[in-house]
């Protein structure tokens, strides 16, 4: 391994390892503040600049809180249950963090320093980047069940089992909705997918892209165990789920891994549907694309926090029913609609298409605007009606409760 290669690897990875944990700290603060405000509380507002009196003289809206939390976590006792499997108990939080950190490499963020390094180090230039992303994210399931099993605690095991069922179920609509984008681009390369949406050609503005984005976002919430799909760690039911028996820095690692996974999956949603780094002013100032990418990630995370403050937790049967009876048929139908629409747009030009160029853009050039408008409206209508029908069909057949004594 040459020295240059090592340098390039460090240049490609170290900034990610610095930027995203910093953003994680900021996000925990943001989440606590936002949830507090949603519940008409104030949220953390005391800890500010350290070494001023109580850190409170310059409190800066409590921005020092994440640091205080981190220090607290570091100094806490590491408790391992007597009958726990010590090795796997130790490995689980590490295994939860590593895949989350790894997939950050697959996000096509154009950091200014990324252009100077070899292409072989850029993970998002990999021809199967999207597949790799899902493959590595899938490892997280293993870590969660490992934690649940190794703790030798009924709540941990219940949480782990719930997590397996949930993550495996929602992985399918997640991948199937990403297929739509692959169909429109004709490539699994993350950078090419992002480039195909330059300007305002974001895939979320196509009907099948919009449906796929919504399905993807819902499935992403479930994949990262976010409310309303936080059954694996449901506090009010099974204490803390799979990390019931974790304390100190191991707990912090789980926490970190969860948030990094949120960033990663939001970043993938941005890459696939929201145009990557595309945005106003990018043509003139290329470094703006980094800002736009992070802004879009944070917009998605803000919606996640907002949803967490709004929605109550689902029941287990509702959760599984929603994945298998609603999201899965809808995403398969969506693929069918997208395929038909692309075929109709192509007409007899199918043979002339250039494999190296994004498919949708080639099809849109020279297409009849009336046909396009008809396709858009028709696809939206079909998807909406199908979603409504599936909603009626997939609901659990439960009569409204009759109250004997209340009311």
């Amino acid at each position: 391994m040459s020295l240059e290669l090592i340098r390039d690897i460090l240049v490609a990875t170290v900034p990610l390892l610095l930027i995203f944990p910093t953003l994680f700290a900021f996000t925990t603060w943001l989440e606590r503040k936002a949830l507090a405000r949603i519940q008409n509380r104030i949220g953390p507002n005391k800890v500010g600049v350290p070494l001023t009196r109580y850190g409170g003289r310059f409190s800066l809206f409590g921005l020092g809180q994440p640091m205080a939390d981190g220090i607290k976590m570091l100094f806490k006792e590491n408790i391992v249950p007597r009958d726990a499997d010590r090795l796997f108990h130790l490995l689980a939080p590490i295994l939860a963090l590593i895949p989350a950190m790894l997939v950050l490499c697959f996000l096509p963020i154009d950091f200014p320093w990324i252009n100077n390094i070899q292409d072989s180090v850029k993970a998002f230039m990999l021809d199967g980047a999207v597949i790799f992303f899902f493959a590595i994210t899938g490892l997280n399931t293993l870590a969660v069940f490992m934690a649940g099993w190794a703790s030798r605690n009924k709540y941990s095991l219940l949480g782990g089992m719930r997590a397996i069922a949930q993550m495996v179920s929602y992985e399918i609509p997640l991948v199937l909705s990403a297929v739509i984008v692959v169909m429109m681009v004709g490539s699994l390369n993350a950078a090419e997918i992002a480039n195909a949406q330059a300007g305002w050609n974001w895939f979320v503005f196509t009907p099948w892209g919009l449906a796929a984005f919504i399905i993807f976002f819902i499935a992403a919430l479930a994949e990262t165990n976010r409310s309303p799909f936080d059954l694996p760690e449901a506090e009010s039911e099974i204490i803390a789920g799979y990390f019931t028996e974790y304390s100190g820095f191991k707990f912090a690692l789980f926490f970190l891994g969860e948030y990094i996974a949120m960033f990663a999956i939001s970043g993938l949603a941005v890459t696939l549907f929201l145009g990557g780094g595309a945005g106003p002013g990018v043509a003139a100032l290329p470094w703006l694309s980094v800002i736009w990418f992070l802004v879009k990630i944070f917009a998605l995370i803000a919606v996640m926090i907002w949803l967490r403050g709004t929605l109550p937790r689902l029941r287990v049967d509702q959760l599984m029913g929603f994945a298998w009876k609603f999201l899965l048929p809808l995403s398969i139908l969506n693929i069918f609609i997208a395929g038909s629409a692309l075929h109709l747009l192509a007409g007899d030009r199918l043979a002339d298409l250039d494999e190296k160029q994004p498919i949708l853009r080639q099809l849109m050039e020279g297409a009849n605007p009336l046909v396009v408008a008809g396709l858009w409206i028709g696809a939206l209508l079909i998807l909406y009606v199908a979603a409504n029908g599936l909603n009626q069909l997939s609901r659990a057949k439960v009569r409204p409760r009759e109250y004997k004594y209340a009311e």
Binding site: R37, R53, Y54, L307, T310, L311, Y384, N388
Partner: protein
């Protein structure tokens, strides 16, 4: 048919309203914010939190009129033990679900605010580390002697003694009660006054009835004494 997923957006609108509203309307914020306190008055240790009566009320938005924490004992006048309402009947002690009240009845009677000689609690302890703030003692008290306080600054370095509130800690004036729970206190006073009035009216009515009865009896007696000769006459 409503819009698919419309309920989610409705809910999100509600939380958004709360989120934005909490920045503009201070009365939305129900939690206590110490940032109004000058820096040199910030609490140094848990035990040094200000405990003066009414201190927590300085910021009117911090404690609402409806917050309840632990019970307190009411008295009506300036001398707590002369006007204590509690007569040590021990109903609350028996009803308390977590059994956190301990009462010792006095041996001799003493005049209370009503001017009647009554027993009084020689000891009245509430262990607030056990109390679950259920307010059942308030519900069962026939003398309106125990009500809920909203004082919450009870942290103490003494885990056992500091959390055991004695009779003299629990005694609070009716004015204080009016200060912290105005609506409830007014309603309670009104009810007490009404009950008192009804009692007096009943007493009066009873006295009136007794008087009437006596009159009637007297009349009947008089009639009887007048009529007796007639009967006797008839009989003859």
């Amino acid at each position: 048919m409503s819009l698919l997923g419309g309920g989610i957006f409705k809910g999100m609108a509600v939380t958004l309203r709360n989120f934005v509203g909490s920045y503009f309307y201070k009365d939305r914020l129900t939690t206590n914010d110490y940032s109004w306190r000058p820096t040199d008055k910030l609490p140094q240790h848990a035990g040094e939190y200000p405990k003066e009566e009414g201190e927590q009320l300085r910021d009117a938005t911090t404690v609402t009129n409806y917050s309840r924490n632990f019970p307190m004992l009411l008295h009506d006048g300036s001398e707590p033990m002369d006007t204590i309402r509690c007569v040590a009947c021990q109903i609350c002690e028996r009803e308390c679900p977590p059994q956190c009240i301990y009462i010792e009845k006095s041996t001799e009677k003493k005049e209370n605010a009503g001017g009647k000689p009554q027993f009084y609690p020689a000891k009245f302890d509430i262990d607030v580390s056990v109390c679950m703030s259920c307010q059942i003692c308030v519900e069962v008290c026939p003398f309106d002697a125990i009500v809920m306080n909203s004082q919450f600054e009870l942290s103490t370095p003494d885990r056992f003694g500091g959390l055991l509130l004695r009779r003299d800690d629990l005694l609070k004036s009716n004015d204080y009660y009016h200060n912290i729970h105005p609506e409830e206190a007014a309603a309670r006073d009104k009810r007490i006054a009404e009950e008192k009035a009804a009692k007096e009216a009943k007493k009066k009515a009873a006295a009136e009835a007794a008087r009437k009865k006596a009159e009637e009896k007297a009349k009947a007696d008089a009639e009887a004494s007048e009529g007796t000769p007639d009967i006797q006459e008839d009989a003859e």
